[in-house]
Structure formats: C-alpha cells, structure tokens
Symmetry: C3
C-alpha cells in the first residue's frame, strides 16, 4: 500500500510537471498519414451497401459519402460574404459562432491572466498554428485571425469558394486539420484488440461506430429507411465531431458536461445517463456542479482548479492511468454488452489490468479498498444477471428448435436480407411480420439486449434502483417469469412429453396414441356395452 | 435560393423595425367583445354535464363554473388588508408576489437602461394602462400603482371586496382585462380549421382544452372522479393562465423556459419534454442555456439579445413566419395524434404551407436543405409507424367482430355511459371491468395512443432513441408481436378456419364435424373392428 | 377561519422569536444515552443473520458491524499526515473537504455579516463546541480548529491513530458526537407508533431502514448477494449520514436541494423524485429555484430569506406544525404503501390530525380550502386504486388456491429460506425459478408494489400524468386487464366449472364426465347407428 501511495504521488508529480506528455505522440505521425488512414478505414456504405440507398437527411450523417452542395446558391462567395449572408439566413448559427472561441481567437491570444481557466487555450492555439504551418496552410509565424464559415465548410484559409461546388460538411478529418492531436487520440480507438476476440478489432468505439451501424444486418435490410436513419443520428461519431461539440459553438466546456453524452447514452439498451443522474455522483453534479464547477478548465485540472467534487462521464471515461485523451476505450472491459465470453475471461491479464486502471480512477476520491470491493461486486452482479439470461436463452431456443412457437409453422416470414432468422435475435427489436417474432422471443430479445445491459450499467454507475428494483434484476425476474410461463403453456399444449427432449412429431404421435388409449378405449367399451344392450334387447 | 435569402433579409428588417405589428390586431376587437365571446364559447360542464358532478378540487380547475368563495372569512376587506393578512396566512404566495413584476411596477416604469432585457416591459405597461383606460378602469393618464391580491381576486382597481361574496379565482378573461393582447392571441387558436375535418374547429388547442376534456366520454362516465380530475389538471388552459405563468410570480421568464411546458407535455402519450431534453437541442439548453441565456428577453430577441444557441419549446411553437404569439397552432400539422386522415393529405396546400413555415423556423439555425430533409424524414417515419398500427388494428377488430376475445361472450361489461364499447378504444386506457378490455385490446390501445405518438414526437423533436430503440418503433414492433401472437393463439383455439372470414359459429360447427370426421370416424372404426372381433368370437 | 388566521400569525411570531425551541429537547437526554440507545436498537445482521454473509462492499454500508481497517497501511499516523497523504492518494476527497465548512471553521466563526445566509452556522458551531465540552472532548471555552480526517475516521480531537487498527468509517453516532441535535432528531423517528398497527413501531423511517432491509426475507435469502447489496445502498440511513450529506463536503446546502433525495426516492416503487420534477412545484424549482433560491439558508427561512417560491422535498417533509427537524415521519399517513388497513382508518384522529398538519404545510402557499380539497381528492383517488388492486388480488389468490397457475403442480420451486411461497408475493420481484412466479402473479406483484404506490405518490405530489395516464391509474387498468384475461383463459382451460368454487379435482372429474356425456355419447350413438347399418346390411 505504501508503495502504491508513493507511486501515486510520483505519478501525480509527473503528470503535473509534464501535462502534454500524451500529446507528444502526434508528432510521430503526420496529419496527412492520419487523414489517409482515416479515409482508408472508412467503410462508406459498408458491406451491405448494395441493399440500401441513402435518403436525403443521411447526407448530413455521413457527408463524406453522401453530401453534395445545394445548387440553389451559385457562384463564388468570399470569406466575408459567407458571414454576412448567414447572419441573415441562419442567425442562430451565426450568433453561436460569433460568441465562440473560433470567432474570438484574439481574446485567447491576448489573455493576460494565467488564472483564467481558459488560459490553456493559448498553448492550444499555438499548437494549432504550428500544425497548420507544418501543412503549409499558414506561413511560419503567421497567426490565425479567426476560424470562419469558409475554413470548415470550404478549406482552411480559403479566400473564396464556389458555393454550389466546393461547399463541404466537415468530417473528422476536416476538424483534424487544426485539431490534429484530438483527431489522433480519437482515431487511436481503432487499435483496440480484444484478447479472446469478444469484439472485432477497434469495436466497440466511437471511431468505428458508423461501420458498426451500416454493417448491422437489420439496419441494412429494413425497408423503413427513415427509422433506420435514427440509428445514424448517434452512430455518426466516426464521421463527425459535432456529436459532442455541437454546432456552431463547438465548445469544449459544453462537451465536458455530462449532458453532452446524454442524447446517445440513454434508454433501454445503454442507460448510462439515467444511471449517472440517479447515482450520488449525479446528485453532487446537480446540486453543486451546475452552479460551482468550472467546465472551462481541462479535465486534468477538474479537481484541483475546476472545483469538481464528483466525477462526470468525461473525468472517468476520458481518463487512463491519470492521463486524459479522446480515446475512450482504454479501460473498457464489459464494453457494450455483457457476454459469457467476457465473464469467463475476467481473470485474464487484459481484463485484470483494466480493472486495476479503473481502481486508480475511482481512487481519485475513494479508497483503493472501496474501489476494489465495489468493482468486484459490480462484476459478480453482472455475472448473476447473465446466468439468468443464459437460462432463458436455452428455453427460448429449444422452443424454436422444437417448432413450438406460435405460428412458427404457418406464418413466420423470413426477416429481410441480409438478416437471417433466429430465436430472439437482435433484428426482432426492429422488425416484425406475421408471427416473427413470437412474443416470447421478443421478451427474450429485451432480456439480453436491455435488461442485462441495464443491470450492468446500473451496477457500474452506482445507481441502486438501476440494478435492483426498477431496472435490471427485477426486470430480468419478470421476463424470466414470462418466458417460463409461456414455455410451460406451449409445451403442455404440444404434449407434455416434448419436455423430455422428444421431437414434437414423436410427441404428437404418442399423444394421439395416449388419447386413443384413454378416451377411445373407454368410449369403445361404453359403445361395446351399448351394443351388448342393444343386441340383448333385440334378442 | 438567392431570392429566398433576400426575402429573409427583408423579412428580418421588417420584423425588427415593426416589432409590434402582430399585436395591432387587438385594436380590431374590444376587450368586451373578446370576453363575451370567451364566455359564449366556454362549454361549462359540457354536453355530458348531467352525468357527473364536480368534486371540491375542481372549483380550482374551472373557477368560472364551480368556484364559490369560502364562508370562513366574512366581511369587507380592503386592498391593504388582503396583503397584510396573506403575508401571514400564505407567506409563500405573498413573497412570490412581493418579488414579482406585479408588485414592482415602478421598477419597470423607472427603468433607466434600454439594455436591460426587461426594458420592453415599459412599453407593455403603457399598453396595459391604455387598455385599462379604454375600459374605464383607469383615468386617462393615470398610472397603475401595483397589481395586488384584490385586482385579480376581486376586480381591477377595487378598493375593497366582501371576502365571502366577491372573491374570485381569476380566469383567462380576468387576466385578459390587463393582458388583452395576449388574451386575444390565445383565443385566436379557436379559429383553426382543418382542411379535411381531421379535428373539429379549434381543436386541438389550449384555447379549447377544457371542452375537449369534459366532452370526452370516458372522462364524463368514470365513477372515480378523483382520478378524472387529474386530466383537468392539464386540460384547464382554456380556463386559466397559471398553467404556464405559475402563481404568484406570473413570470414571463419562467414561462419562456422549457420546464414550463413539462408538467403537461410528458409521458406515454405526448413525451415532448423527454424528447427535447434528450435531443441535441436539449443538450445545448442544459449545458449552455441554463447558465448563460437570458430568459427575460422577449422571444423575438432570443437569439440576438438572449444568447440562445438552441431552440426552446417556446421559440419554435410560439413562432409563425417570424412572428411570436400565444397562438400555438399556426404550424400544427400532425397535431396530437398521427392518423391516416392526416397522412393521406400531406400534399394538400394547408399541410404544405405549414411544412414550409416549419422549414423557416428550423432555418433560424439550419440550412433550408437540412430542414427540408429532416422534416420529410420525420413525415415518412411517422407514416411507417402508422402503417404498422393500422395492420394491428385490423387484426384486433377482427377478433372483436368474430367474438374471439377472452371472455367476450361471458364477461364483457359495457363501459359506463356515455361511452360505447369498441375494440381497443380510448376508454380502455382508463376503465376496466371483467374481461373488458381483453389484454390484446389494451396492447392495441397502447399502440395507437402511445407508441405511434411517441414515434412521431421522437422524430420531430430529433431524439434518436425516442423513435428507434427506446420509444416508438421498437415498442411498435413489440406490441405488434404480442397482437399477432395472441391472434394466432385465439384463432387456433377457436379453430383455424375462422381466419378465412367464416363466422365463429360456422367455424365451430365445422370444427365439430371435422372432429367427428377425424377422431370419431377413427374411433368408430376401432369400435366397429372391436365389434367385428367380438362378434366373430361370438360366432 | 379568522381564529385560524390569528393562530397562524401568533404561531409565526412564536416560531420566529424562538427559532430553537424544537432543539431544546436535546438537553433532556445526553449524547451518551442517545448513543447507547442507538447501538442497542441497531439490529446488526438482523434476525436472519445466520442465512447470509456480508460481501466486502457491505463493510461500507454497515461499517459498525462489518468494517475493518485495511492492513496495507500500518503504523501510527498523525492528524497532519492524514491530510498530506490523502491530498495525493484521494485528491477528490481532499479538495471536497478543503472547500467544506469542516475545513474552514474560522470563516464561520469570523463571519462579520449577519445577512450572510450562513450566519446561522455561527450559533451552530458554538452549540457543537458546547456539546463537545459536555463530553469532555473540548475544554470549557476551547475552540475547534477544524474537523479533519482524523476526527471522523479516528476520534474527535485525536492527535494520531494506528491506521491499521483504529481507522473507522463514521456511523450516525460518530457524526452525532458533534451534531447531537440532528442525531437526536433523526433517532426520534423510532418513536413513531401506528394507531392500528399498520406498521410496527418506528417503521417505516430512515432511522430503522437497515433493520427493515436485513429483516426482509427475500433480501436475506437471495443467493445473489451482489444484487441484494443494491438494497443496502439506500437502506443504510440507519447506519450513516452521508446518504444526504455526501462525502467529503457534507454540505447542508446540498442536502436541502431535492436532488439529495433522488438517488433513493425514484423508480417503480417510490417515484417521488419524478413526480416532484413534473409537478408545477418542480417547474418553479427548475426555472426559478436553481438560479435564484439560496440553499444556504436554513429551511425555516426558505421563503422569507431564501427566496423559495415553491416547495422542495425538504420544506414539506422536514416540517411539522411550522417546525423543521430531521424527523421526517411526523406527518406520515399513507407511508410507503397504501393498504386497506390505512384506508379504513383515515377518520381516526391520528390520521385526521396529520391531515390537518399537511393542510398547514400546504397553506404556506395555498388557501386552506385548496389544501383540504386537494388532500381529500388525493386520499379518495388512492382508495380508488386500492379497490382495483384488491379485486385483482382475490382473482390471483383464487388461481393459486385452486392450483391453476401454469406449472404450479409440476415446476414450482420453493423460494429460498426464510421466504415462504405466496401468490404475488414481494419476493417474486427479486427471485424467479421454474414456474415460480407465474406471469400473472408477477403482474399482480407489480400492481400492488408499483402501480398503486405510483398512483398514490403521483396524486400527493400533484403530477397529473403521474397518476392518470402514464403511471398509476392507467397502469392499474392494464395490469387488471392482463390478470382478468389470464384468469378467464386458465379457468376455461381447466373447465369453466372451477369458477364456482369447486376444487380443481372435482372439476376435472366432472369435466371428464361431461366430455363422456357429450362427445362420447354422441360418438357412441353414431357408432351404434353405424353398427345398426352394418348389421342391417349384413342381414
């Protein structure tokens, strides 16, 4: 323990003395290389691309592949004209920009007071200018005046563009032209590799969320493209930076507040937002943070200079061994969805090391003993839920394999290509036709895709109701009960014997024999008796 | 496009030069006329009034018809006595009032600084005084000192009232005595007419929400009046103004914040509040708006002077073609509830013009192309959901018409008058007895009244999880699966043939014949064979 | 009424003149007596303690019984060393403490301005010092310098501790050493007695919530201890004070904000938080309170000095007859869960007096007539829901008693000890195996434990959607429909006769006879006729 403390103290000294150590990496690789790799990795429409066509709104979710400038405004427009005209046509966007850092670089450059929480932006601006000089976009020693419409929607430093030809919607690489460090950090998520192949390389991550989106079979196969594009509205982080730094303020302070994550990280299959708010972390944020914390300070100074007295999404998930970066997957363990392939390997060093890294994170405020105890409880609680789900899975799959689901033999259409039929499959959350899915399958799909995940998220975000009585465990119990109930009924209806592993056909045959043996034999006896009576009377 | 931009610029100039153009209308019609029409349009207890009696609390939801002063305080009380006594008996109400604009008119009148966001109230106060002079309630040139208890709970300018005889709970007209412009704006919602009669004149709107309430059959018929009055708690905007401007601050700044709408606009059948919060609009409001925006400025100056960088409920729904008013229905299209009668007529100019008006609203911040693409996707997504709901509707109605619902023939009580029985009717959300409704009907009622509406609200409020995986589409899929499952089971139980449109009686008859033909023929043969054996032995 | 007003005015005078009248009680009983009684009342592991073992994290939920210092840090550490080391190892905890009142007692002591909202803390500090002097922990007239790590995690005033031997996690008594008044107030909840024994003495309350927790059969019996400890995460108020005053700020201002209650008071079985937020009380809090109210003032000055224009959880639930205290059960009526035993006794003086006390609370802002009308409506609405639930209860219990639940005779495992099987029991929310519970039982368990409670909480917190259409009544209708549907199906499947109170065995027997009488007689006749034909042909 004492060594640990000493190590921590040394570590803190180290971090404070060399705050930019993590950014040094950017020099190893040029912006051009980064950008080339970014486009090379980008899936475009993805492997199912021939099955769907983009609808108009999707040009904003994936501008690289789908955006074309409108032809309603033609001709050359200058840097100044962009601003003047958009002050009138999109005043909201204009005013947001006008009050942003982008429009007020001199305020940063001339900031006199080192105690201003935004003082760090001075060095950041110098870094950006250096970066642009390296790319030949600024002369050595030249200063950026401002970042206006044309720099992002045309090209950095452009004097004018052809509105109907050159207009672009900025992608990650466009933002990365200036913000190369952050671009490099974010793209480094693609390097993540799972020790037992639980997820394929780079997944799950913001850096590959568009690929994950378009290569999901039911997403590609759904006829309702306007519903499907709802998935894109979150799964576009691979394409753009405005998911967290919203237009046209692009505020770092905004992106440091938990609400920045809430649009995507809420709801039935990843309710991190609700869990955070209802944890004690959330209470402190809502009662103290909103009024008193300074979100202008960089994350590394959150506690010391920002006055944070509780964590935010950002302070935990951007951090790894005391360093903050746009790579959010460095401590990922259960990732998006608890599975046996993870549960069975938690003692592997890959997972153990990450648990250790989490303990270090929690130890910003809690004792290592508290952190370890809590994380272990959360692991075991997650595994307990997984066990229930796996038991239900077998029951539902057996019903499917035995052909006992309602309408399974008479009215079970195939899901749309490239999707394939399966019992309780993911596609059944987004597609239904005839008796596919049956009710019991949908309950099971909710169980593995919603209940177990909410259990896990509730546990790890320390929201007690989120994993005991409101979400998570209690929901697992309810869905388990529905599944077992239905299993009993369907099997009783099909003949109880099918429970013994007999095929339904054999069971049906035997049931028939049983019926004959019981009812008809009795019937026959009665009839025979009747005949005897009739005959005896006849005589 | 260029013409559009020029038009927009001219329009903005126009709006800024003549900010009160929209209010000019008030002069066309006197307060007395407005008031007379208001009472004339008011339904009182409504057309089912003989079926229910108000419970005590309802005197506060509809004071016009139900309020009577308490007899516990008798005698004449002066303007000053009201204040002195209520400082003690209801200190919370007193202090709220004491810090309100009503109690501090001189602060408004003597405001020196035109840059104060509340400076516009100076002109508003003058307008109110003019209005009161017109009504003979102030002498020409006389100034209002303050607005105290007696002005609203007695009559404007009264010196004293008889507490047990004259005390009133203010209704819209009472507020309108001073706030005539706002009263006129709000009442103008009644003029709304739907091109194909999708809703009756003036509906749905705040201005007629009490009528909608009391003329809903199940509301009038329910025995549980204490539950029914819960509907009144929102459906009283036709009666009173404190739904948005809460007692006793009556703050415009409060009413401009999204939370002002949240008490009524949340939950299973109109979750606008949740959708807003979880959209990126909501993120910006929560991360930037709460701290930095100035809600004291009027809506028309929200972007330019208020610092808004995202919309609120109010900036979108009070706006129409650049003008702001208390008439919130001028851009209504899908209204409360998507129906085929709307879906089938979206290309009608009435709907097209309103879509255009929405595009103008969105274009405050977004490009027209973005706005058009998004609105079209939202329309089509809504229609996709409607299609699923309509398919389910047919299935449930067929079960009802075929008499196949559980207990339908043995234990289906009629709903209370004036309600009439129907498959999956609205009343089934609020009333249940015996086997009415059956489970499958309730699922369908949830589908059309909750799932489809949430889908639509999620789409139009740009909350991705609100229409894809948490609410909306995924719920529709689940409810569809339950309905199809149940349909298959009930029809199989009743004999599969009923699916072919045969009446259940015929089906039952044929099923009997089939049974005889299959089981009994076999039985007979077995018996006959037995007899043969018996007889042959006998011989 | 006039007398009431006079009484109120006198009362207010009285309260303002003698703000500390309620605290006088503390002198009657010494800290030592309080502490002794606290430990004497504490259940430790409770009556089922032999059935479960604590897991590591539980040492933080009940430190008194389970906490042992870590052995990783050994040796003696001084008051100063604690602080220096923890500044490095747990910087978040350190900085929270550093900015807290505990670390800045001199700022309180030297506060010059009586208008500072925290001025009242000056007297509080003197009271604490007096208390410590009484216990011999300070010399007469000696001042506390600060409250550091060692005072709470060792003992008040200690110079040094053995880290691996003396370290404690503070419990209620440890906080009570200084905060004796608050400790006494909180402990006085144990004196609550219900007039008809609806709850056992002292229940439900924060002061006995750990006992309630560990003596709940299913909590003690559950195999999944990591899930069960989720209950502890709220049910630890009996053990510790940091549930409301979170570590390491221990802020009174934080604990006065509604979010302080939200971690525990949310969700399916006690959604007070959601109801508050969605009521008009919540709107005012969110739109005005967050920005303008001063939470540093004590609750008794909330309206007059704090600027509150709406209630918080604290202003209503800490108040009783105008006085504020940490005893929150003095106005409890329906408590946690509406039951017939409460509904049937509301006219008893115990309940009537408390209703009167509530009216006084509401009358801070509302008229007594409004308060009375609303509270009566809420009572009656709650009773209406209870009636529906009780009807459903009979149906489910009859199914259980008749042995008709799916799998009841073939696959219904007993719940874990000490739990006992029951239809729709509480345990079925947290445990499921085989066909226990059946689906219909779980629906019923949700009904009584969730729907009715949400109805009641929605009514009393004035959230209209919370008791009409989203939660409460509409959910009761849905669950009732599911239960009646299933009842009809199960009884039809078992032979309709079982509905007449006949035992299933008798019913089955008669069903068999009926079948023989109907089908087989007909079959026999047909066969006989066939035989006649055959025979006649043979002749």
């Amino acid at each position: 323990m004492l060594t640990k403390i000493l190590k921590s103290m040394l570590f803190l000294l180290f971090v404070h003395a060399l705050p930019s150590v993590a950014y040094a990496k950017q020099d190893d690789i040029s912006f051009q290389q980064l950008k080339d790799k970014y486009y090379q990795d980008h899936p475009g429409k993805g492997k199912f691309g021939d099955l769907w066509e983009p609808i108009p709104i999707q040009k904003y979710w994936n501008p690289k592949d789908f955006y074309k400038p409108p032809t309603t405004v033609t001709g050359e427009v200058t840097r100044e004209q962009c601003v003047v005209c958009h002050q009138s046509v999109t005043p909201g966007a204009f005013h947001a920009w006008q009050n942003s850092t982008h429009a007020n670089l001199d305020k940063i450059r001339n900031m006199p007071n080192a105690k201003d929480p935004r003082f760090y932006k001075k060095a950041k601006l110098a870094e950006v200018e250096q970066q642009l000089a390296k790319q030949g976009l600024l002369k050595e020693g030249e200063q950026l005046k401002d970042v206006g419409c044309i720099d992002c929607h045309g090209s950095v430093g452009a004097k004018s563009i052809q509105h109907d030809k050159d207009l672009v919607m900025p992608d990650r690489a466009q933002c990365g032209t200036c913000h190369t460090t952050e671009f490099a950090e974010a793209e480094s998520e693609k390097e993540q590799e799972w020790p037992q192949g639980q997820w394929s390389k780079g997944h799950p991550s913001h850096a590959m969320d568009w690929k994950a989106n378009v290569e999901t079979a039911i997403w590609a196969g759904m006829a309702e493209r306007e519903i499907a594009q709802g998935c894109d509205m979150c799964h576009y982080q691979q394409n753009k930076c405005d998911g967290c730094h919203t237009r046209h303020t692009f505020s770092a302070a905004e992106a440091r507040q938990p609400e920045a994550c809430s649009t995507c990280h809420n709801g039935v299959d990843h309710n991190e937002w609700e869990n955070y708010l209802l944890s004690k972390h959330g209470t402190v944020y809502l009662t103290q943070g909103k009024q008193k914390w300074n979100f202008e300070v960089p994350l590394k100074d959150a506690i010391t200079k920002g006055g944070y007295t509780a964590p935010t999404c950002q302070t935990c998930h951007f951090e790894f061994e005391g360093e903050y970066s746009h790579n959010l997957v460095r401590k990922v363990r259960w990732a998006f969805n608890p599975t046996p392939a993870i549960a069975d390997n938690l003692s592997h060093p890959w997972f153990e090391d990450r648990k250790e890294a989490w303990q270090q994170t929690c130890s910003n405020c809690h004792s290592p003993s508290f952190a370890e105890s809590y994380l272990t409880a959360a692991d075991k609680g997650t595994i307990a839920g997984l066990k229930v789900e796996q038991e239900a899975k077998k029951v539902v799959e057996a019903l499917y394999n035995d052909g006992l689901l309602p309408g399974q033999k008479t009215n079970r259409p195939q899901p749309p290509k490239p999707e394939k039929d399966a019992a309780g499959g993911f596609f059944q959350l987004f597609w239904a036709k005839g008796n596919n899915p049956s009710h019991v399958e949908r309950v099971y799909a909710d169980m593995w895709e919603h209940d177990v995940i909410k259990l896990y998220k509730g546990l790890f975000h320390a929201n007690p109701g989120g994993f005991t009585y409101t979400e998570g465990w209690s929901e697992l119990m309810r869905d388990y009960a529905i599944i077992m109930d239905e299993n009993t009924k369907l099997r009783e209806a099909a003949g109880k014997t099918a429970q013994n592993g007999e095929s339904p056909t054999r069971a049906a045959l035997r049931e028939f024999k049983d019926a004959v043996a019981s009812r008809y034999v009795l019937g026959s006896l009665l009839v025979a008796a009747g005949i005897v009576v009739i005959r005896s009377r006849k005589r």
